[in-house]
């Protein structure tokens, strides 16, 4: 089965570029497709996308996208100033390592920089070479690893999973902010990369959901469908962005993998109550693929510590007027899982994470928010970007922050788009670690960090990044996420033991607000449209750590 031309056009618009050697291959579902209001998630336009996926890792049956190097790269045979090639003048095949047989691949779409195709379901696991060619162009190729499963949801611009409710007659209705899922409903979600008959489980709001059908597991080439039932009753808390987690096993690659997103759910099916207090009309606009005008206020204050007697503060403020889609607003509500993980810093090879804007970037013109300032007591900040560095002082009396805790007021003198306006919000006191500096970690024991946790609310999330030398050579990176108001984090010895002993490493701590705790307000533009204002606030500390 082949997708329509329009589908093909969309499929290459959903792609992000990740460059490896000759080209890069990634799961097509690691980027989103379309707003959830549309019954068929593929029949829509998208303006830009974000990518965060494993590159050059594919699984049997996966819909994958091959990207050539960035425009201007001389090694790119796809970009020679010629018109976009058609699928009929394009060939792509995969050859398993050790085999002389190149297996032709089903092409779903082609454009000047990418090919969307499907990995055969019976593709052997292990190394492989993908070869591709356009008419008259030399054959290009790249390496991939074929693993049992490497799944990603089709999502709405990196936000909620694209989902439909399934009626008794099999008809589909979109799930969105104004049309949430209801208890007992059967929901269809899609993604790619589950491999062959990989068992899955689903939780909604942390509550296990019954997976009612893999079949039709792969009705469309490369697309995995998962049907599950929203748990009955009130087991799942209502919300516009209820966490949705799909777990799957992937033998010999990872023992258990999880992919998370969000879904809108209410007990009655009525529109959800938006955590930013968006109206039903605004939510309907978002559901239909529209935009909401947004003023994003960036504020950060970070303590840089060289020694216990030499600490300084890096601070930053900025104002970004923009327009956001349902997916972009939803990305502010993606669940954060507490816990620690450890990974080795890539020192070469093909692994790469990145993002790029592609497609018909036709964002509406952002509103003019006029000349704006931030005020807190006697402090007035005028969005100059990086604030002058403080003079340094001892940690016992650290430099006073300009971006201090307390009540702040954002106000503007107005513009043609916005009348003179203001709103108030509250920030916590800046983060500060307790204990000796530099901390000394014993790598054979659990190590606990403590900080001024009482300063933070329930929405503040702390992530600690520990970067240093690995016990087996090279570099290693460890990260832990906990609620900031817990005031404490214990890094397990099992992870610390992977760091080299007697080494000097770097600890970066970052606290940011999430979900409805993000300071926000609604204003009205002179056009009558909603202006959502929110504050992207972060506070943290950077310091050396002795690992013994």
């Amino acid at each position: 089965m082949r997708l329509s031309f329009r589908t093909a056009g969309l499929l290459f618009a959903i792609a992000g570029v990740i460059q490896a050697q000759n080209a890069t291959v990634l799961n097509a579902a690691s980027v989103q497709t379309a707003p959830p209001a549309l019954v068929n998630p593929f029949f829509s336009e998208v303006d830009f996308v974000g990518v965060s996926a494993y590159s050059n890792i594919v699984s049997p049956g996966m819909m994958a996208i091959l990207h050539a190097p960035a425009p201007g790269a001389t090694a790119n045979p796809l970009l020679r100033g010629r018109p976009a090639p058609s699928a009929s003048e394009t060939t792509i095949s995969i050859r398993h390592s050790g085999s002389s047989l190149a297996i032709p691949l089903e092409i779903l779409s082609v454009n000047a920089t990418s090919i969307t195709f499907v990995i055969p379901l019976n593709m052997p696991l292990g190394g492989a070479e993908i070869e591709y060619q356009f008419a008259g162009q030399p054959t290009g190729w790249t390496n991939v690893n074929v693993v049992p499963a490497s799944f990603a949801f089709f999502t709405n611009l990196g936000g909620p999973v694209i989902a439909q409710s399934v009626a008794a007659d099999g008809s589909l209705s979109p799930i969105g902010l104004t049309t949430p899922a209801q208890p007992g409903q059967t929901i269809r979600i899609t993604g790619s990369g589950l491999g062959y008959n990989t068992p899955v489980s689903v939780t909604v709001g942390g509550v296990p959901a019954t997976v009612v059908s893999p079949p039709p597991h792969r009705a469309t080439p490369g697309i995995d469908e998962i049907w599950f039932q929203i748990p009955a009753g009130s087991a799942v808390t209502d919300g516009c962005y209820v966490p949705l987690v799909l777990s799957y096993s992937s033998q010999n690659q990872w023992s258990q993998m999880q992919t998370s997103s969000t879904i809108s759910k209410t007990s009655t099916g009525a529109p959800c109550v938006h955590p930013f207090q968006l109206s039903v009309a605004d939510m309907a606009t978002l559901d239909s693929g529209g935009y909401i005008a947004v003023g994003q206020i960036d504020m950060s204050t970070t303590l840089d510590v060289a020694t216990a007697s030499a600490a300084s503060r890096d601070e930053y403020d900025d104002l970004n007027p923009t327009e956001m889609t349902a997916g972009q607003i939803a990305s502010l509500f993606l669940p954060t899982a507490p816990g620690c993980s450890i990974g080795r810093t890539s020192t070469g090879g093909f692994a790469y994470l990145g993002q790029i804007a592609v497609g018909n970037a036709s964002l509406p013109t952002p509103p003019d928010l006029g000349s704006a300032v931030l005020q807190n007591g006697a402090t007035t900040l005028n969005f100059s970007g990086t604030l002058p560095q403080t003079t340094e002082g001892p940690l016992s009396a650290p430099p006073t922050p300009a971006i201090a805790g307390g009540t702040w007021t954002w106000q503007t003198s107005g513009s043609t788009d916005l009348a003179t306006s203001s709103f108030n919000f509250t920030l916590p006191a800046p983060f500060q670690l307790s204990g000796a500096t530099p901390p000394s970690f014993i790598r054979t024991q659990d190590q606990t960090l403590n900080w001024n946790g009482a300063a933070f609310d329930a929405g503040a999330v702390l992530t600690a990044f520990l970067n240093g030398s690995a016990a087996t050579g090279g570099q290693v990176s460890l990260d832990c996420t906990v609620p900031a108001n817990s005031g404490t984090l214990t890094i397990p010895a099992t992870m610390l033991s992977q760091l080299a002993g007697s080494s000097l490493d770097t600890l970066n701590i970052l606290v940011r607000e999430t979900g409805s705790f993000i300071p926000h307000a609604q204003l009205k533009l002179t056009s009558g449209a909603t202006l959502l204002m929110y504050v992207s606030y972060s506070t943290g500390e950077n310091l050396p750590v002795d690992v013994q």
Binding site: W141, S331, E392
Partner: protein, 499 residues
């Protein structure tokens, strides 16, 4: 947007780099261990609000596990960084370097204290010529040392001073050491004086090796039998040599010519070729680097990307065109990008490896002609290129991971200055780099280095041949005083199946 902001916060300032001061003076930039008692240099990226001074700079070293930083003596402070003396009693191991310039915030960097990290100074001169009958002069291209003279060379990073005397060879000839020890009133600086031995070969860049205790350092000196300016391997004029010795630069035209073979399979190979030319100025140290930094032969784990010179050009954008001619082939490079003449040839269509189309950038005699180009000195010169490199393997190359693997190519076409660099990369499983003389026609990858690759996995093997030293095609255009260098490279890339 939030993610970007977070990453920005985490990124912070550029990391500082700490290294042996002699290496730093020669332009080395990578962080490396430093030895107790040595002079070290820390690059300081902070924004200076005032002119740095020695008095205003403070440096200390805190060994990991210690709460007490050890103060380090500051020897120099400039807007590019601080030179300091690593305290002789600093324990070996990892440590925190803490430093600040007056008016700046305190910075820190992770460093490693090693027993020794011996290096010789080459900047501002690789040595001082000492004559019994005349004043001491800096060793330079126009002021070489001559037999019978003594020379003083300087270094740092020896660590604990060895009990034995150093052994010095110049051009492979053992020299007579007159003095070796700490330079008078110069803590951290090692001084070695030796007499130029008879039989020492002449040259602008005569290789010098100093072995002392367990440490070895290499450098070079300019030496002639008569004391007259050396015969430069790029045929630079005496006045150009004097300009370089005085700290000046020589205008240099860099002509890049690349021919690369890519084979998806044995039946699907194509060739990609390009040529470009640009002009800039090179210092004595930059020209010396063509002769004094030969790539280390052998294989190692990791991918070694060759570093390139950073070129900054000031002046009006180029216009017109230049040509490269070979037999009936004329490549016209146009001024398409401001300060560069360039030409990218269309890739050839797929062809079998055993029946490839002839390359445009072929082996044989070539002529450069720049008359009529605004950005290039007018003139022409002839040079020769080798035939492109081609691996003898098919595609894919089958590489067992449990035994050594020999890679072969058409080595007979290359001269002694051509070096081949091979990189073998496995998807998600590491990399191996090897360097060998291109004319050898073969190199063997040790089995222990191949063991990191996963059997059944796939990868990429790339070879690249470039000329080095005096074998780099070159000419010195006397009329304009311009040195013309041809940076030719030829490559071949194949898929690999690991077994």
């Amino acid at each position: 947007m939030r993610l970007a902001a977070i990453l920005l916060l985490l990124a912070g300032a550029l990391p500082a780099q700490v290294r042996n001061a002699a290496v730093a003076a020669a332009g080395g930039s990578a962080t490396a261990p430093v030895a107790p008692g040595s002079l070290a240099f820390v690059t300081d990226y902070s924004t200076l609000y005032q002119e740095p001074t020695i008095a205003g700079a403070v440096v200390s070293i805190r060994p990991v596990g210690s709460s007490t930083p050890i103060p380090a003596q500051v020897e120099n402070a400039t807007s590019s960084g601080i030179t300091f003396l690593v305290p002789a009693d600093t324990p070996l191991g990892n440590a925190q370097l803490i430093y600040h310039q007056a008016g700046e915030l305190t910075q820190w960097a992770a460093i490693t204290i090693a027993a020794s990290d011996f290096a010789l100074y080459t900047t501002p001169a690789p040595g001082v010529n000492v004559s019994a009958s005349g004043p001491a002069t800096s060793n330079g291209l126009s002021t070489p040392v001559q037999p019978g003279q003594a020379i003083e060379i300087f270094g740092t990073g020896i660590g604990a001073l060895p009990q034995s005397s150093p052994q010095v060879t110049l051009g492979g000839v053992m020299q007579t050491v007159l003095y070796a020890g700490i330079a008078p009133d110069e803590p951290g600086l090692i001084q070695i004086n030796f007499q130029i031995a008879s039989g020492t070969p002449d040259g602008c860049y005569v290789p010098m090796t100093v072995s002392w205790g367990s440490s070895t350092a290499t450098s070079y000196l300019s030496k002639t039998s008569s004391g007259m300016p050396c015969q430069h391997p790029f045929q630079l004029s005496t006045s150009a040599l004097q300009t370089l010795d005085a700290g000046g630069t020589v205008e240099t035209g860099m002509i890049s010519m690349t021919t690369a073979l890519e084979a998806a399979s044995a039946q699907q190979a194509s060739r990609q070729e390009s040529a470009s030319a640009t002009f800039n100025s090179l210092t004595a140290a930059e020209i010396a680097s063509y002769f004094t930094e030969p790539p280390a032969q052998g294989c190692s784990v990791g991918s070694n990307a060759p570093a390139g010179l950073v070129v900054s050009i000031i002046g009006p954008p180029f216009s017109g065109s230049v040509t490269l001619q070979h037999a009936s082939t004329t490549l016209t490079l146009t001024a398409a990008s401001g300060f560069e003449y360039s030409l990218t040839l269309p890739p050839t269509a797929d062809a079998p490896l055993n029946n490839l189309p002839a390359p445009e950038i072929a082996g044989g005699a070539w002529t450069w002609n720049s008359s009529g180009a605004s950005g290039a000195p007018s003139g022409s010169f002839n040079f020769n290129l080798a035939a492109p490199v081609q691996l003898n393997s098919g595609a894919p190359i089958i590489i067992p991971t449990e035994q050594y693997q020999t890679i072969t190519w058409n080595g007979a076409g290359f001269d002694s200055g051509a070096m081949l660099q091979m990189t073998l990369t496995g998807l998600g499983s590491g990399a191996v780099s090897c360097v060998a003389p291109a004319q050898a026609g073969a190199l063997t990858i040790p089995a222990n280095l191949l063991a990191q690759f996963t059997p059944g996995g796939s990868g990429v093997l790339t070879v690249s041949v470039t000329e080095t030293g005096a074998s780099i095609p070159h000419a010195f255009l006397q009329s304009s005083g311009t040195l013309m260098l041809v940076n030719w490279s030829s490559g071949d890339t194949r898929p690999v199946d690991f077994q």
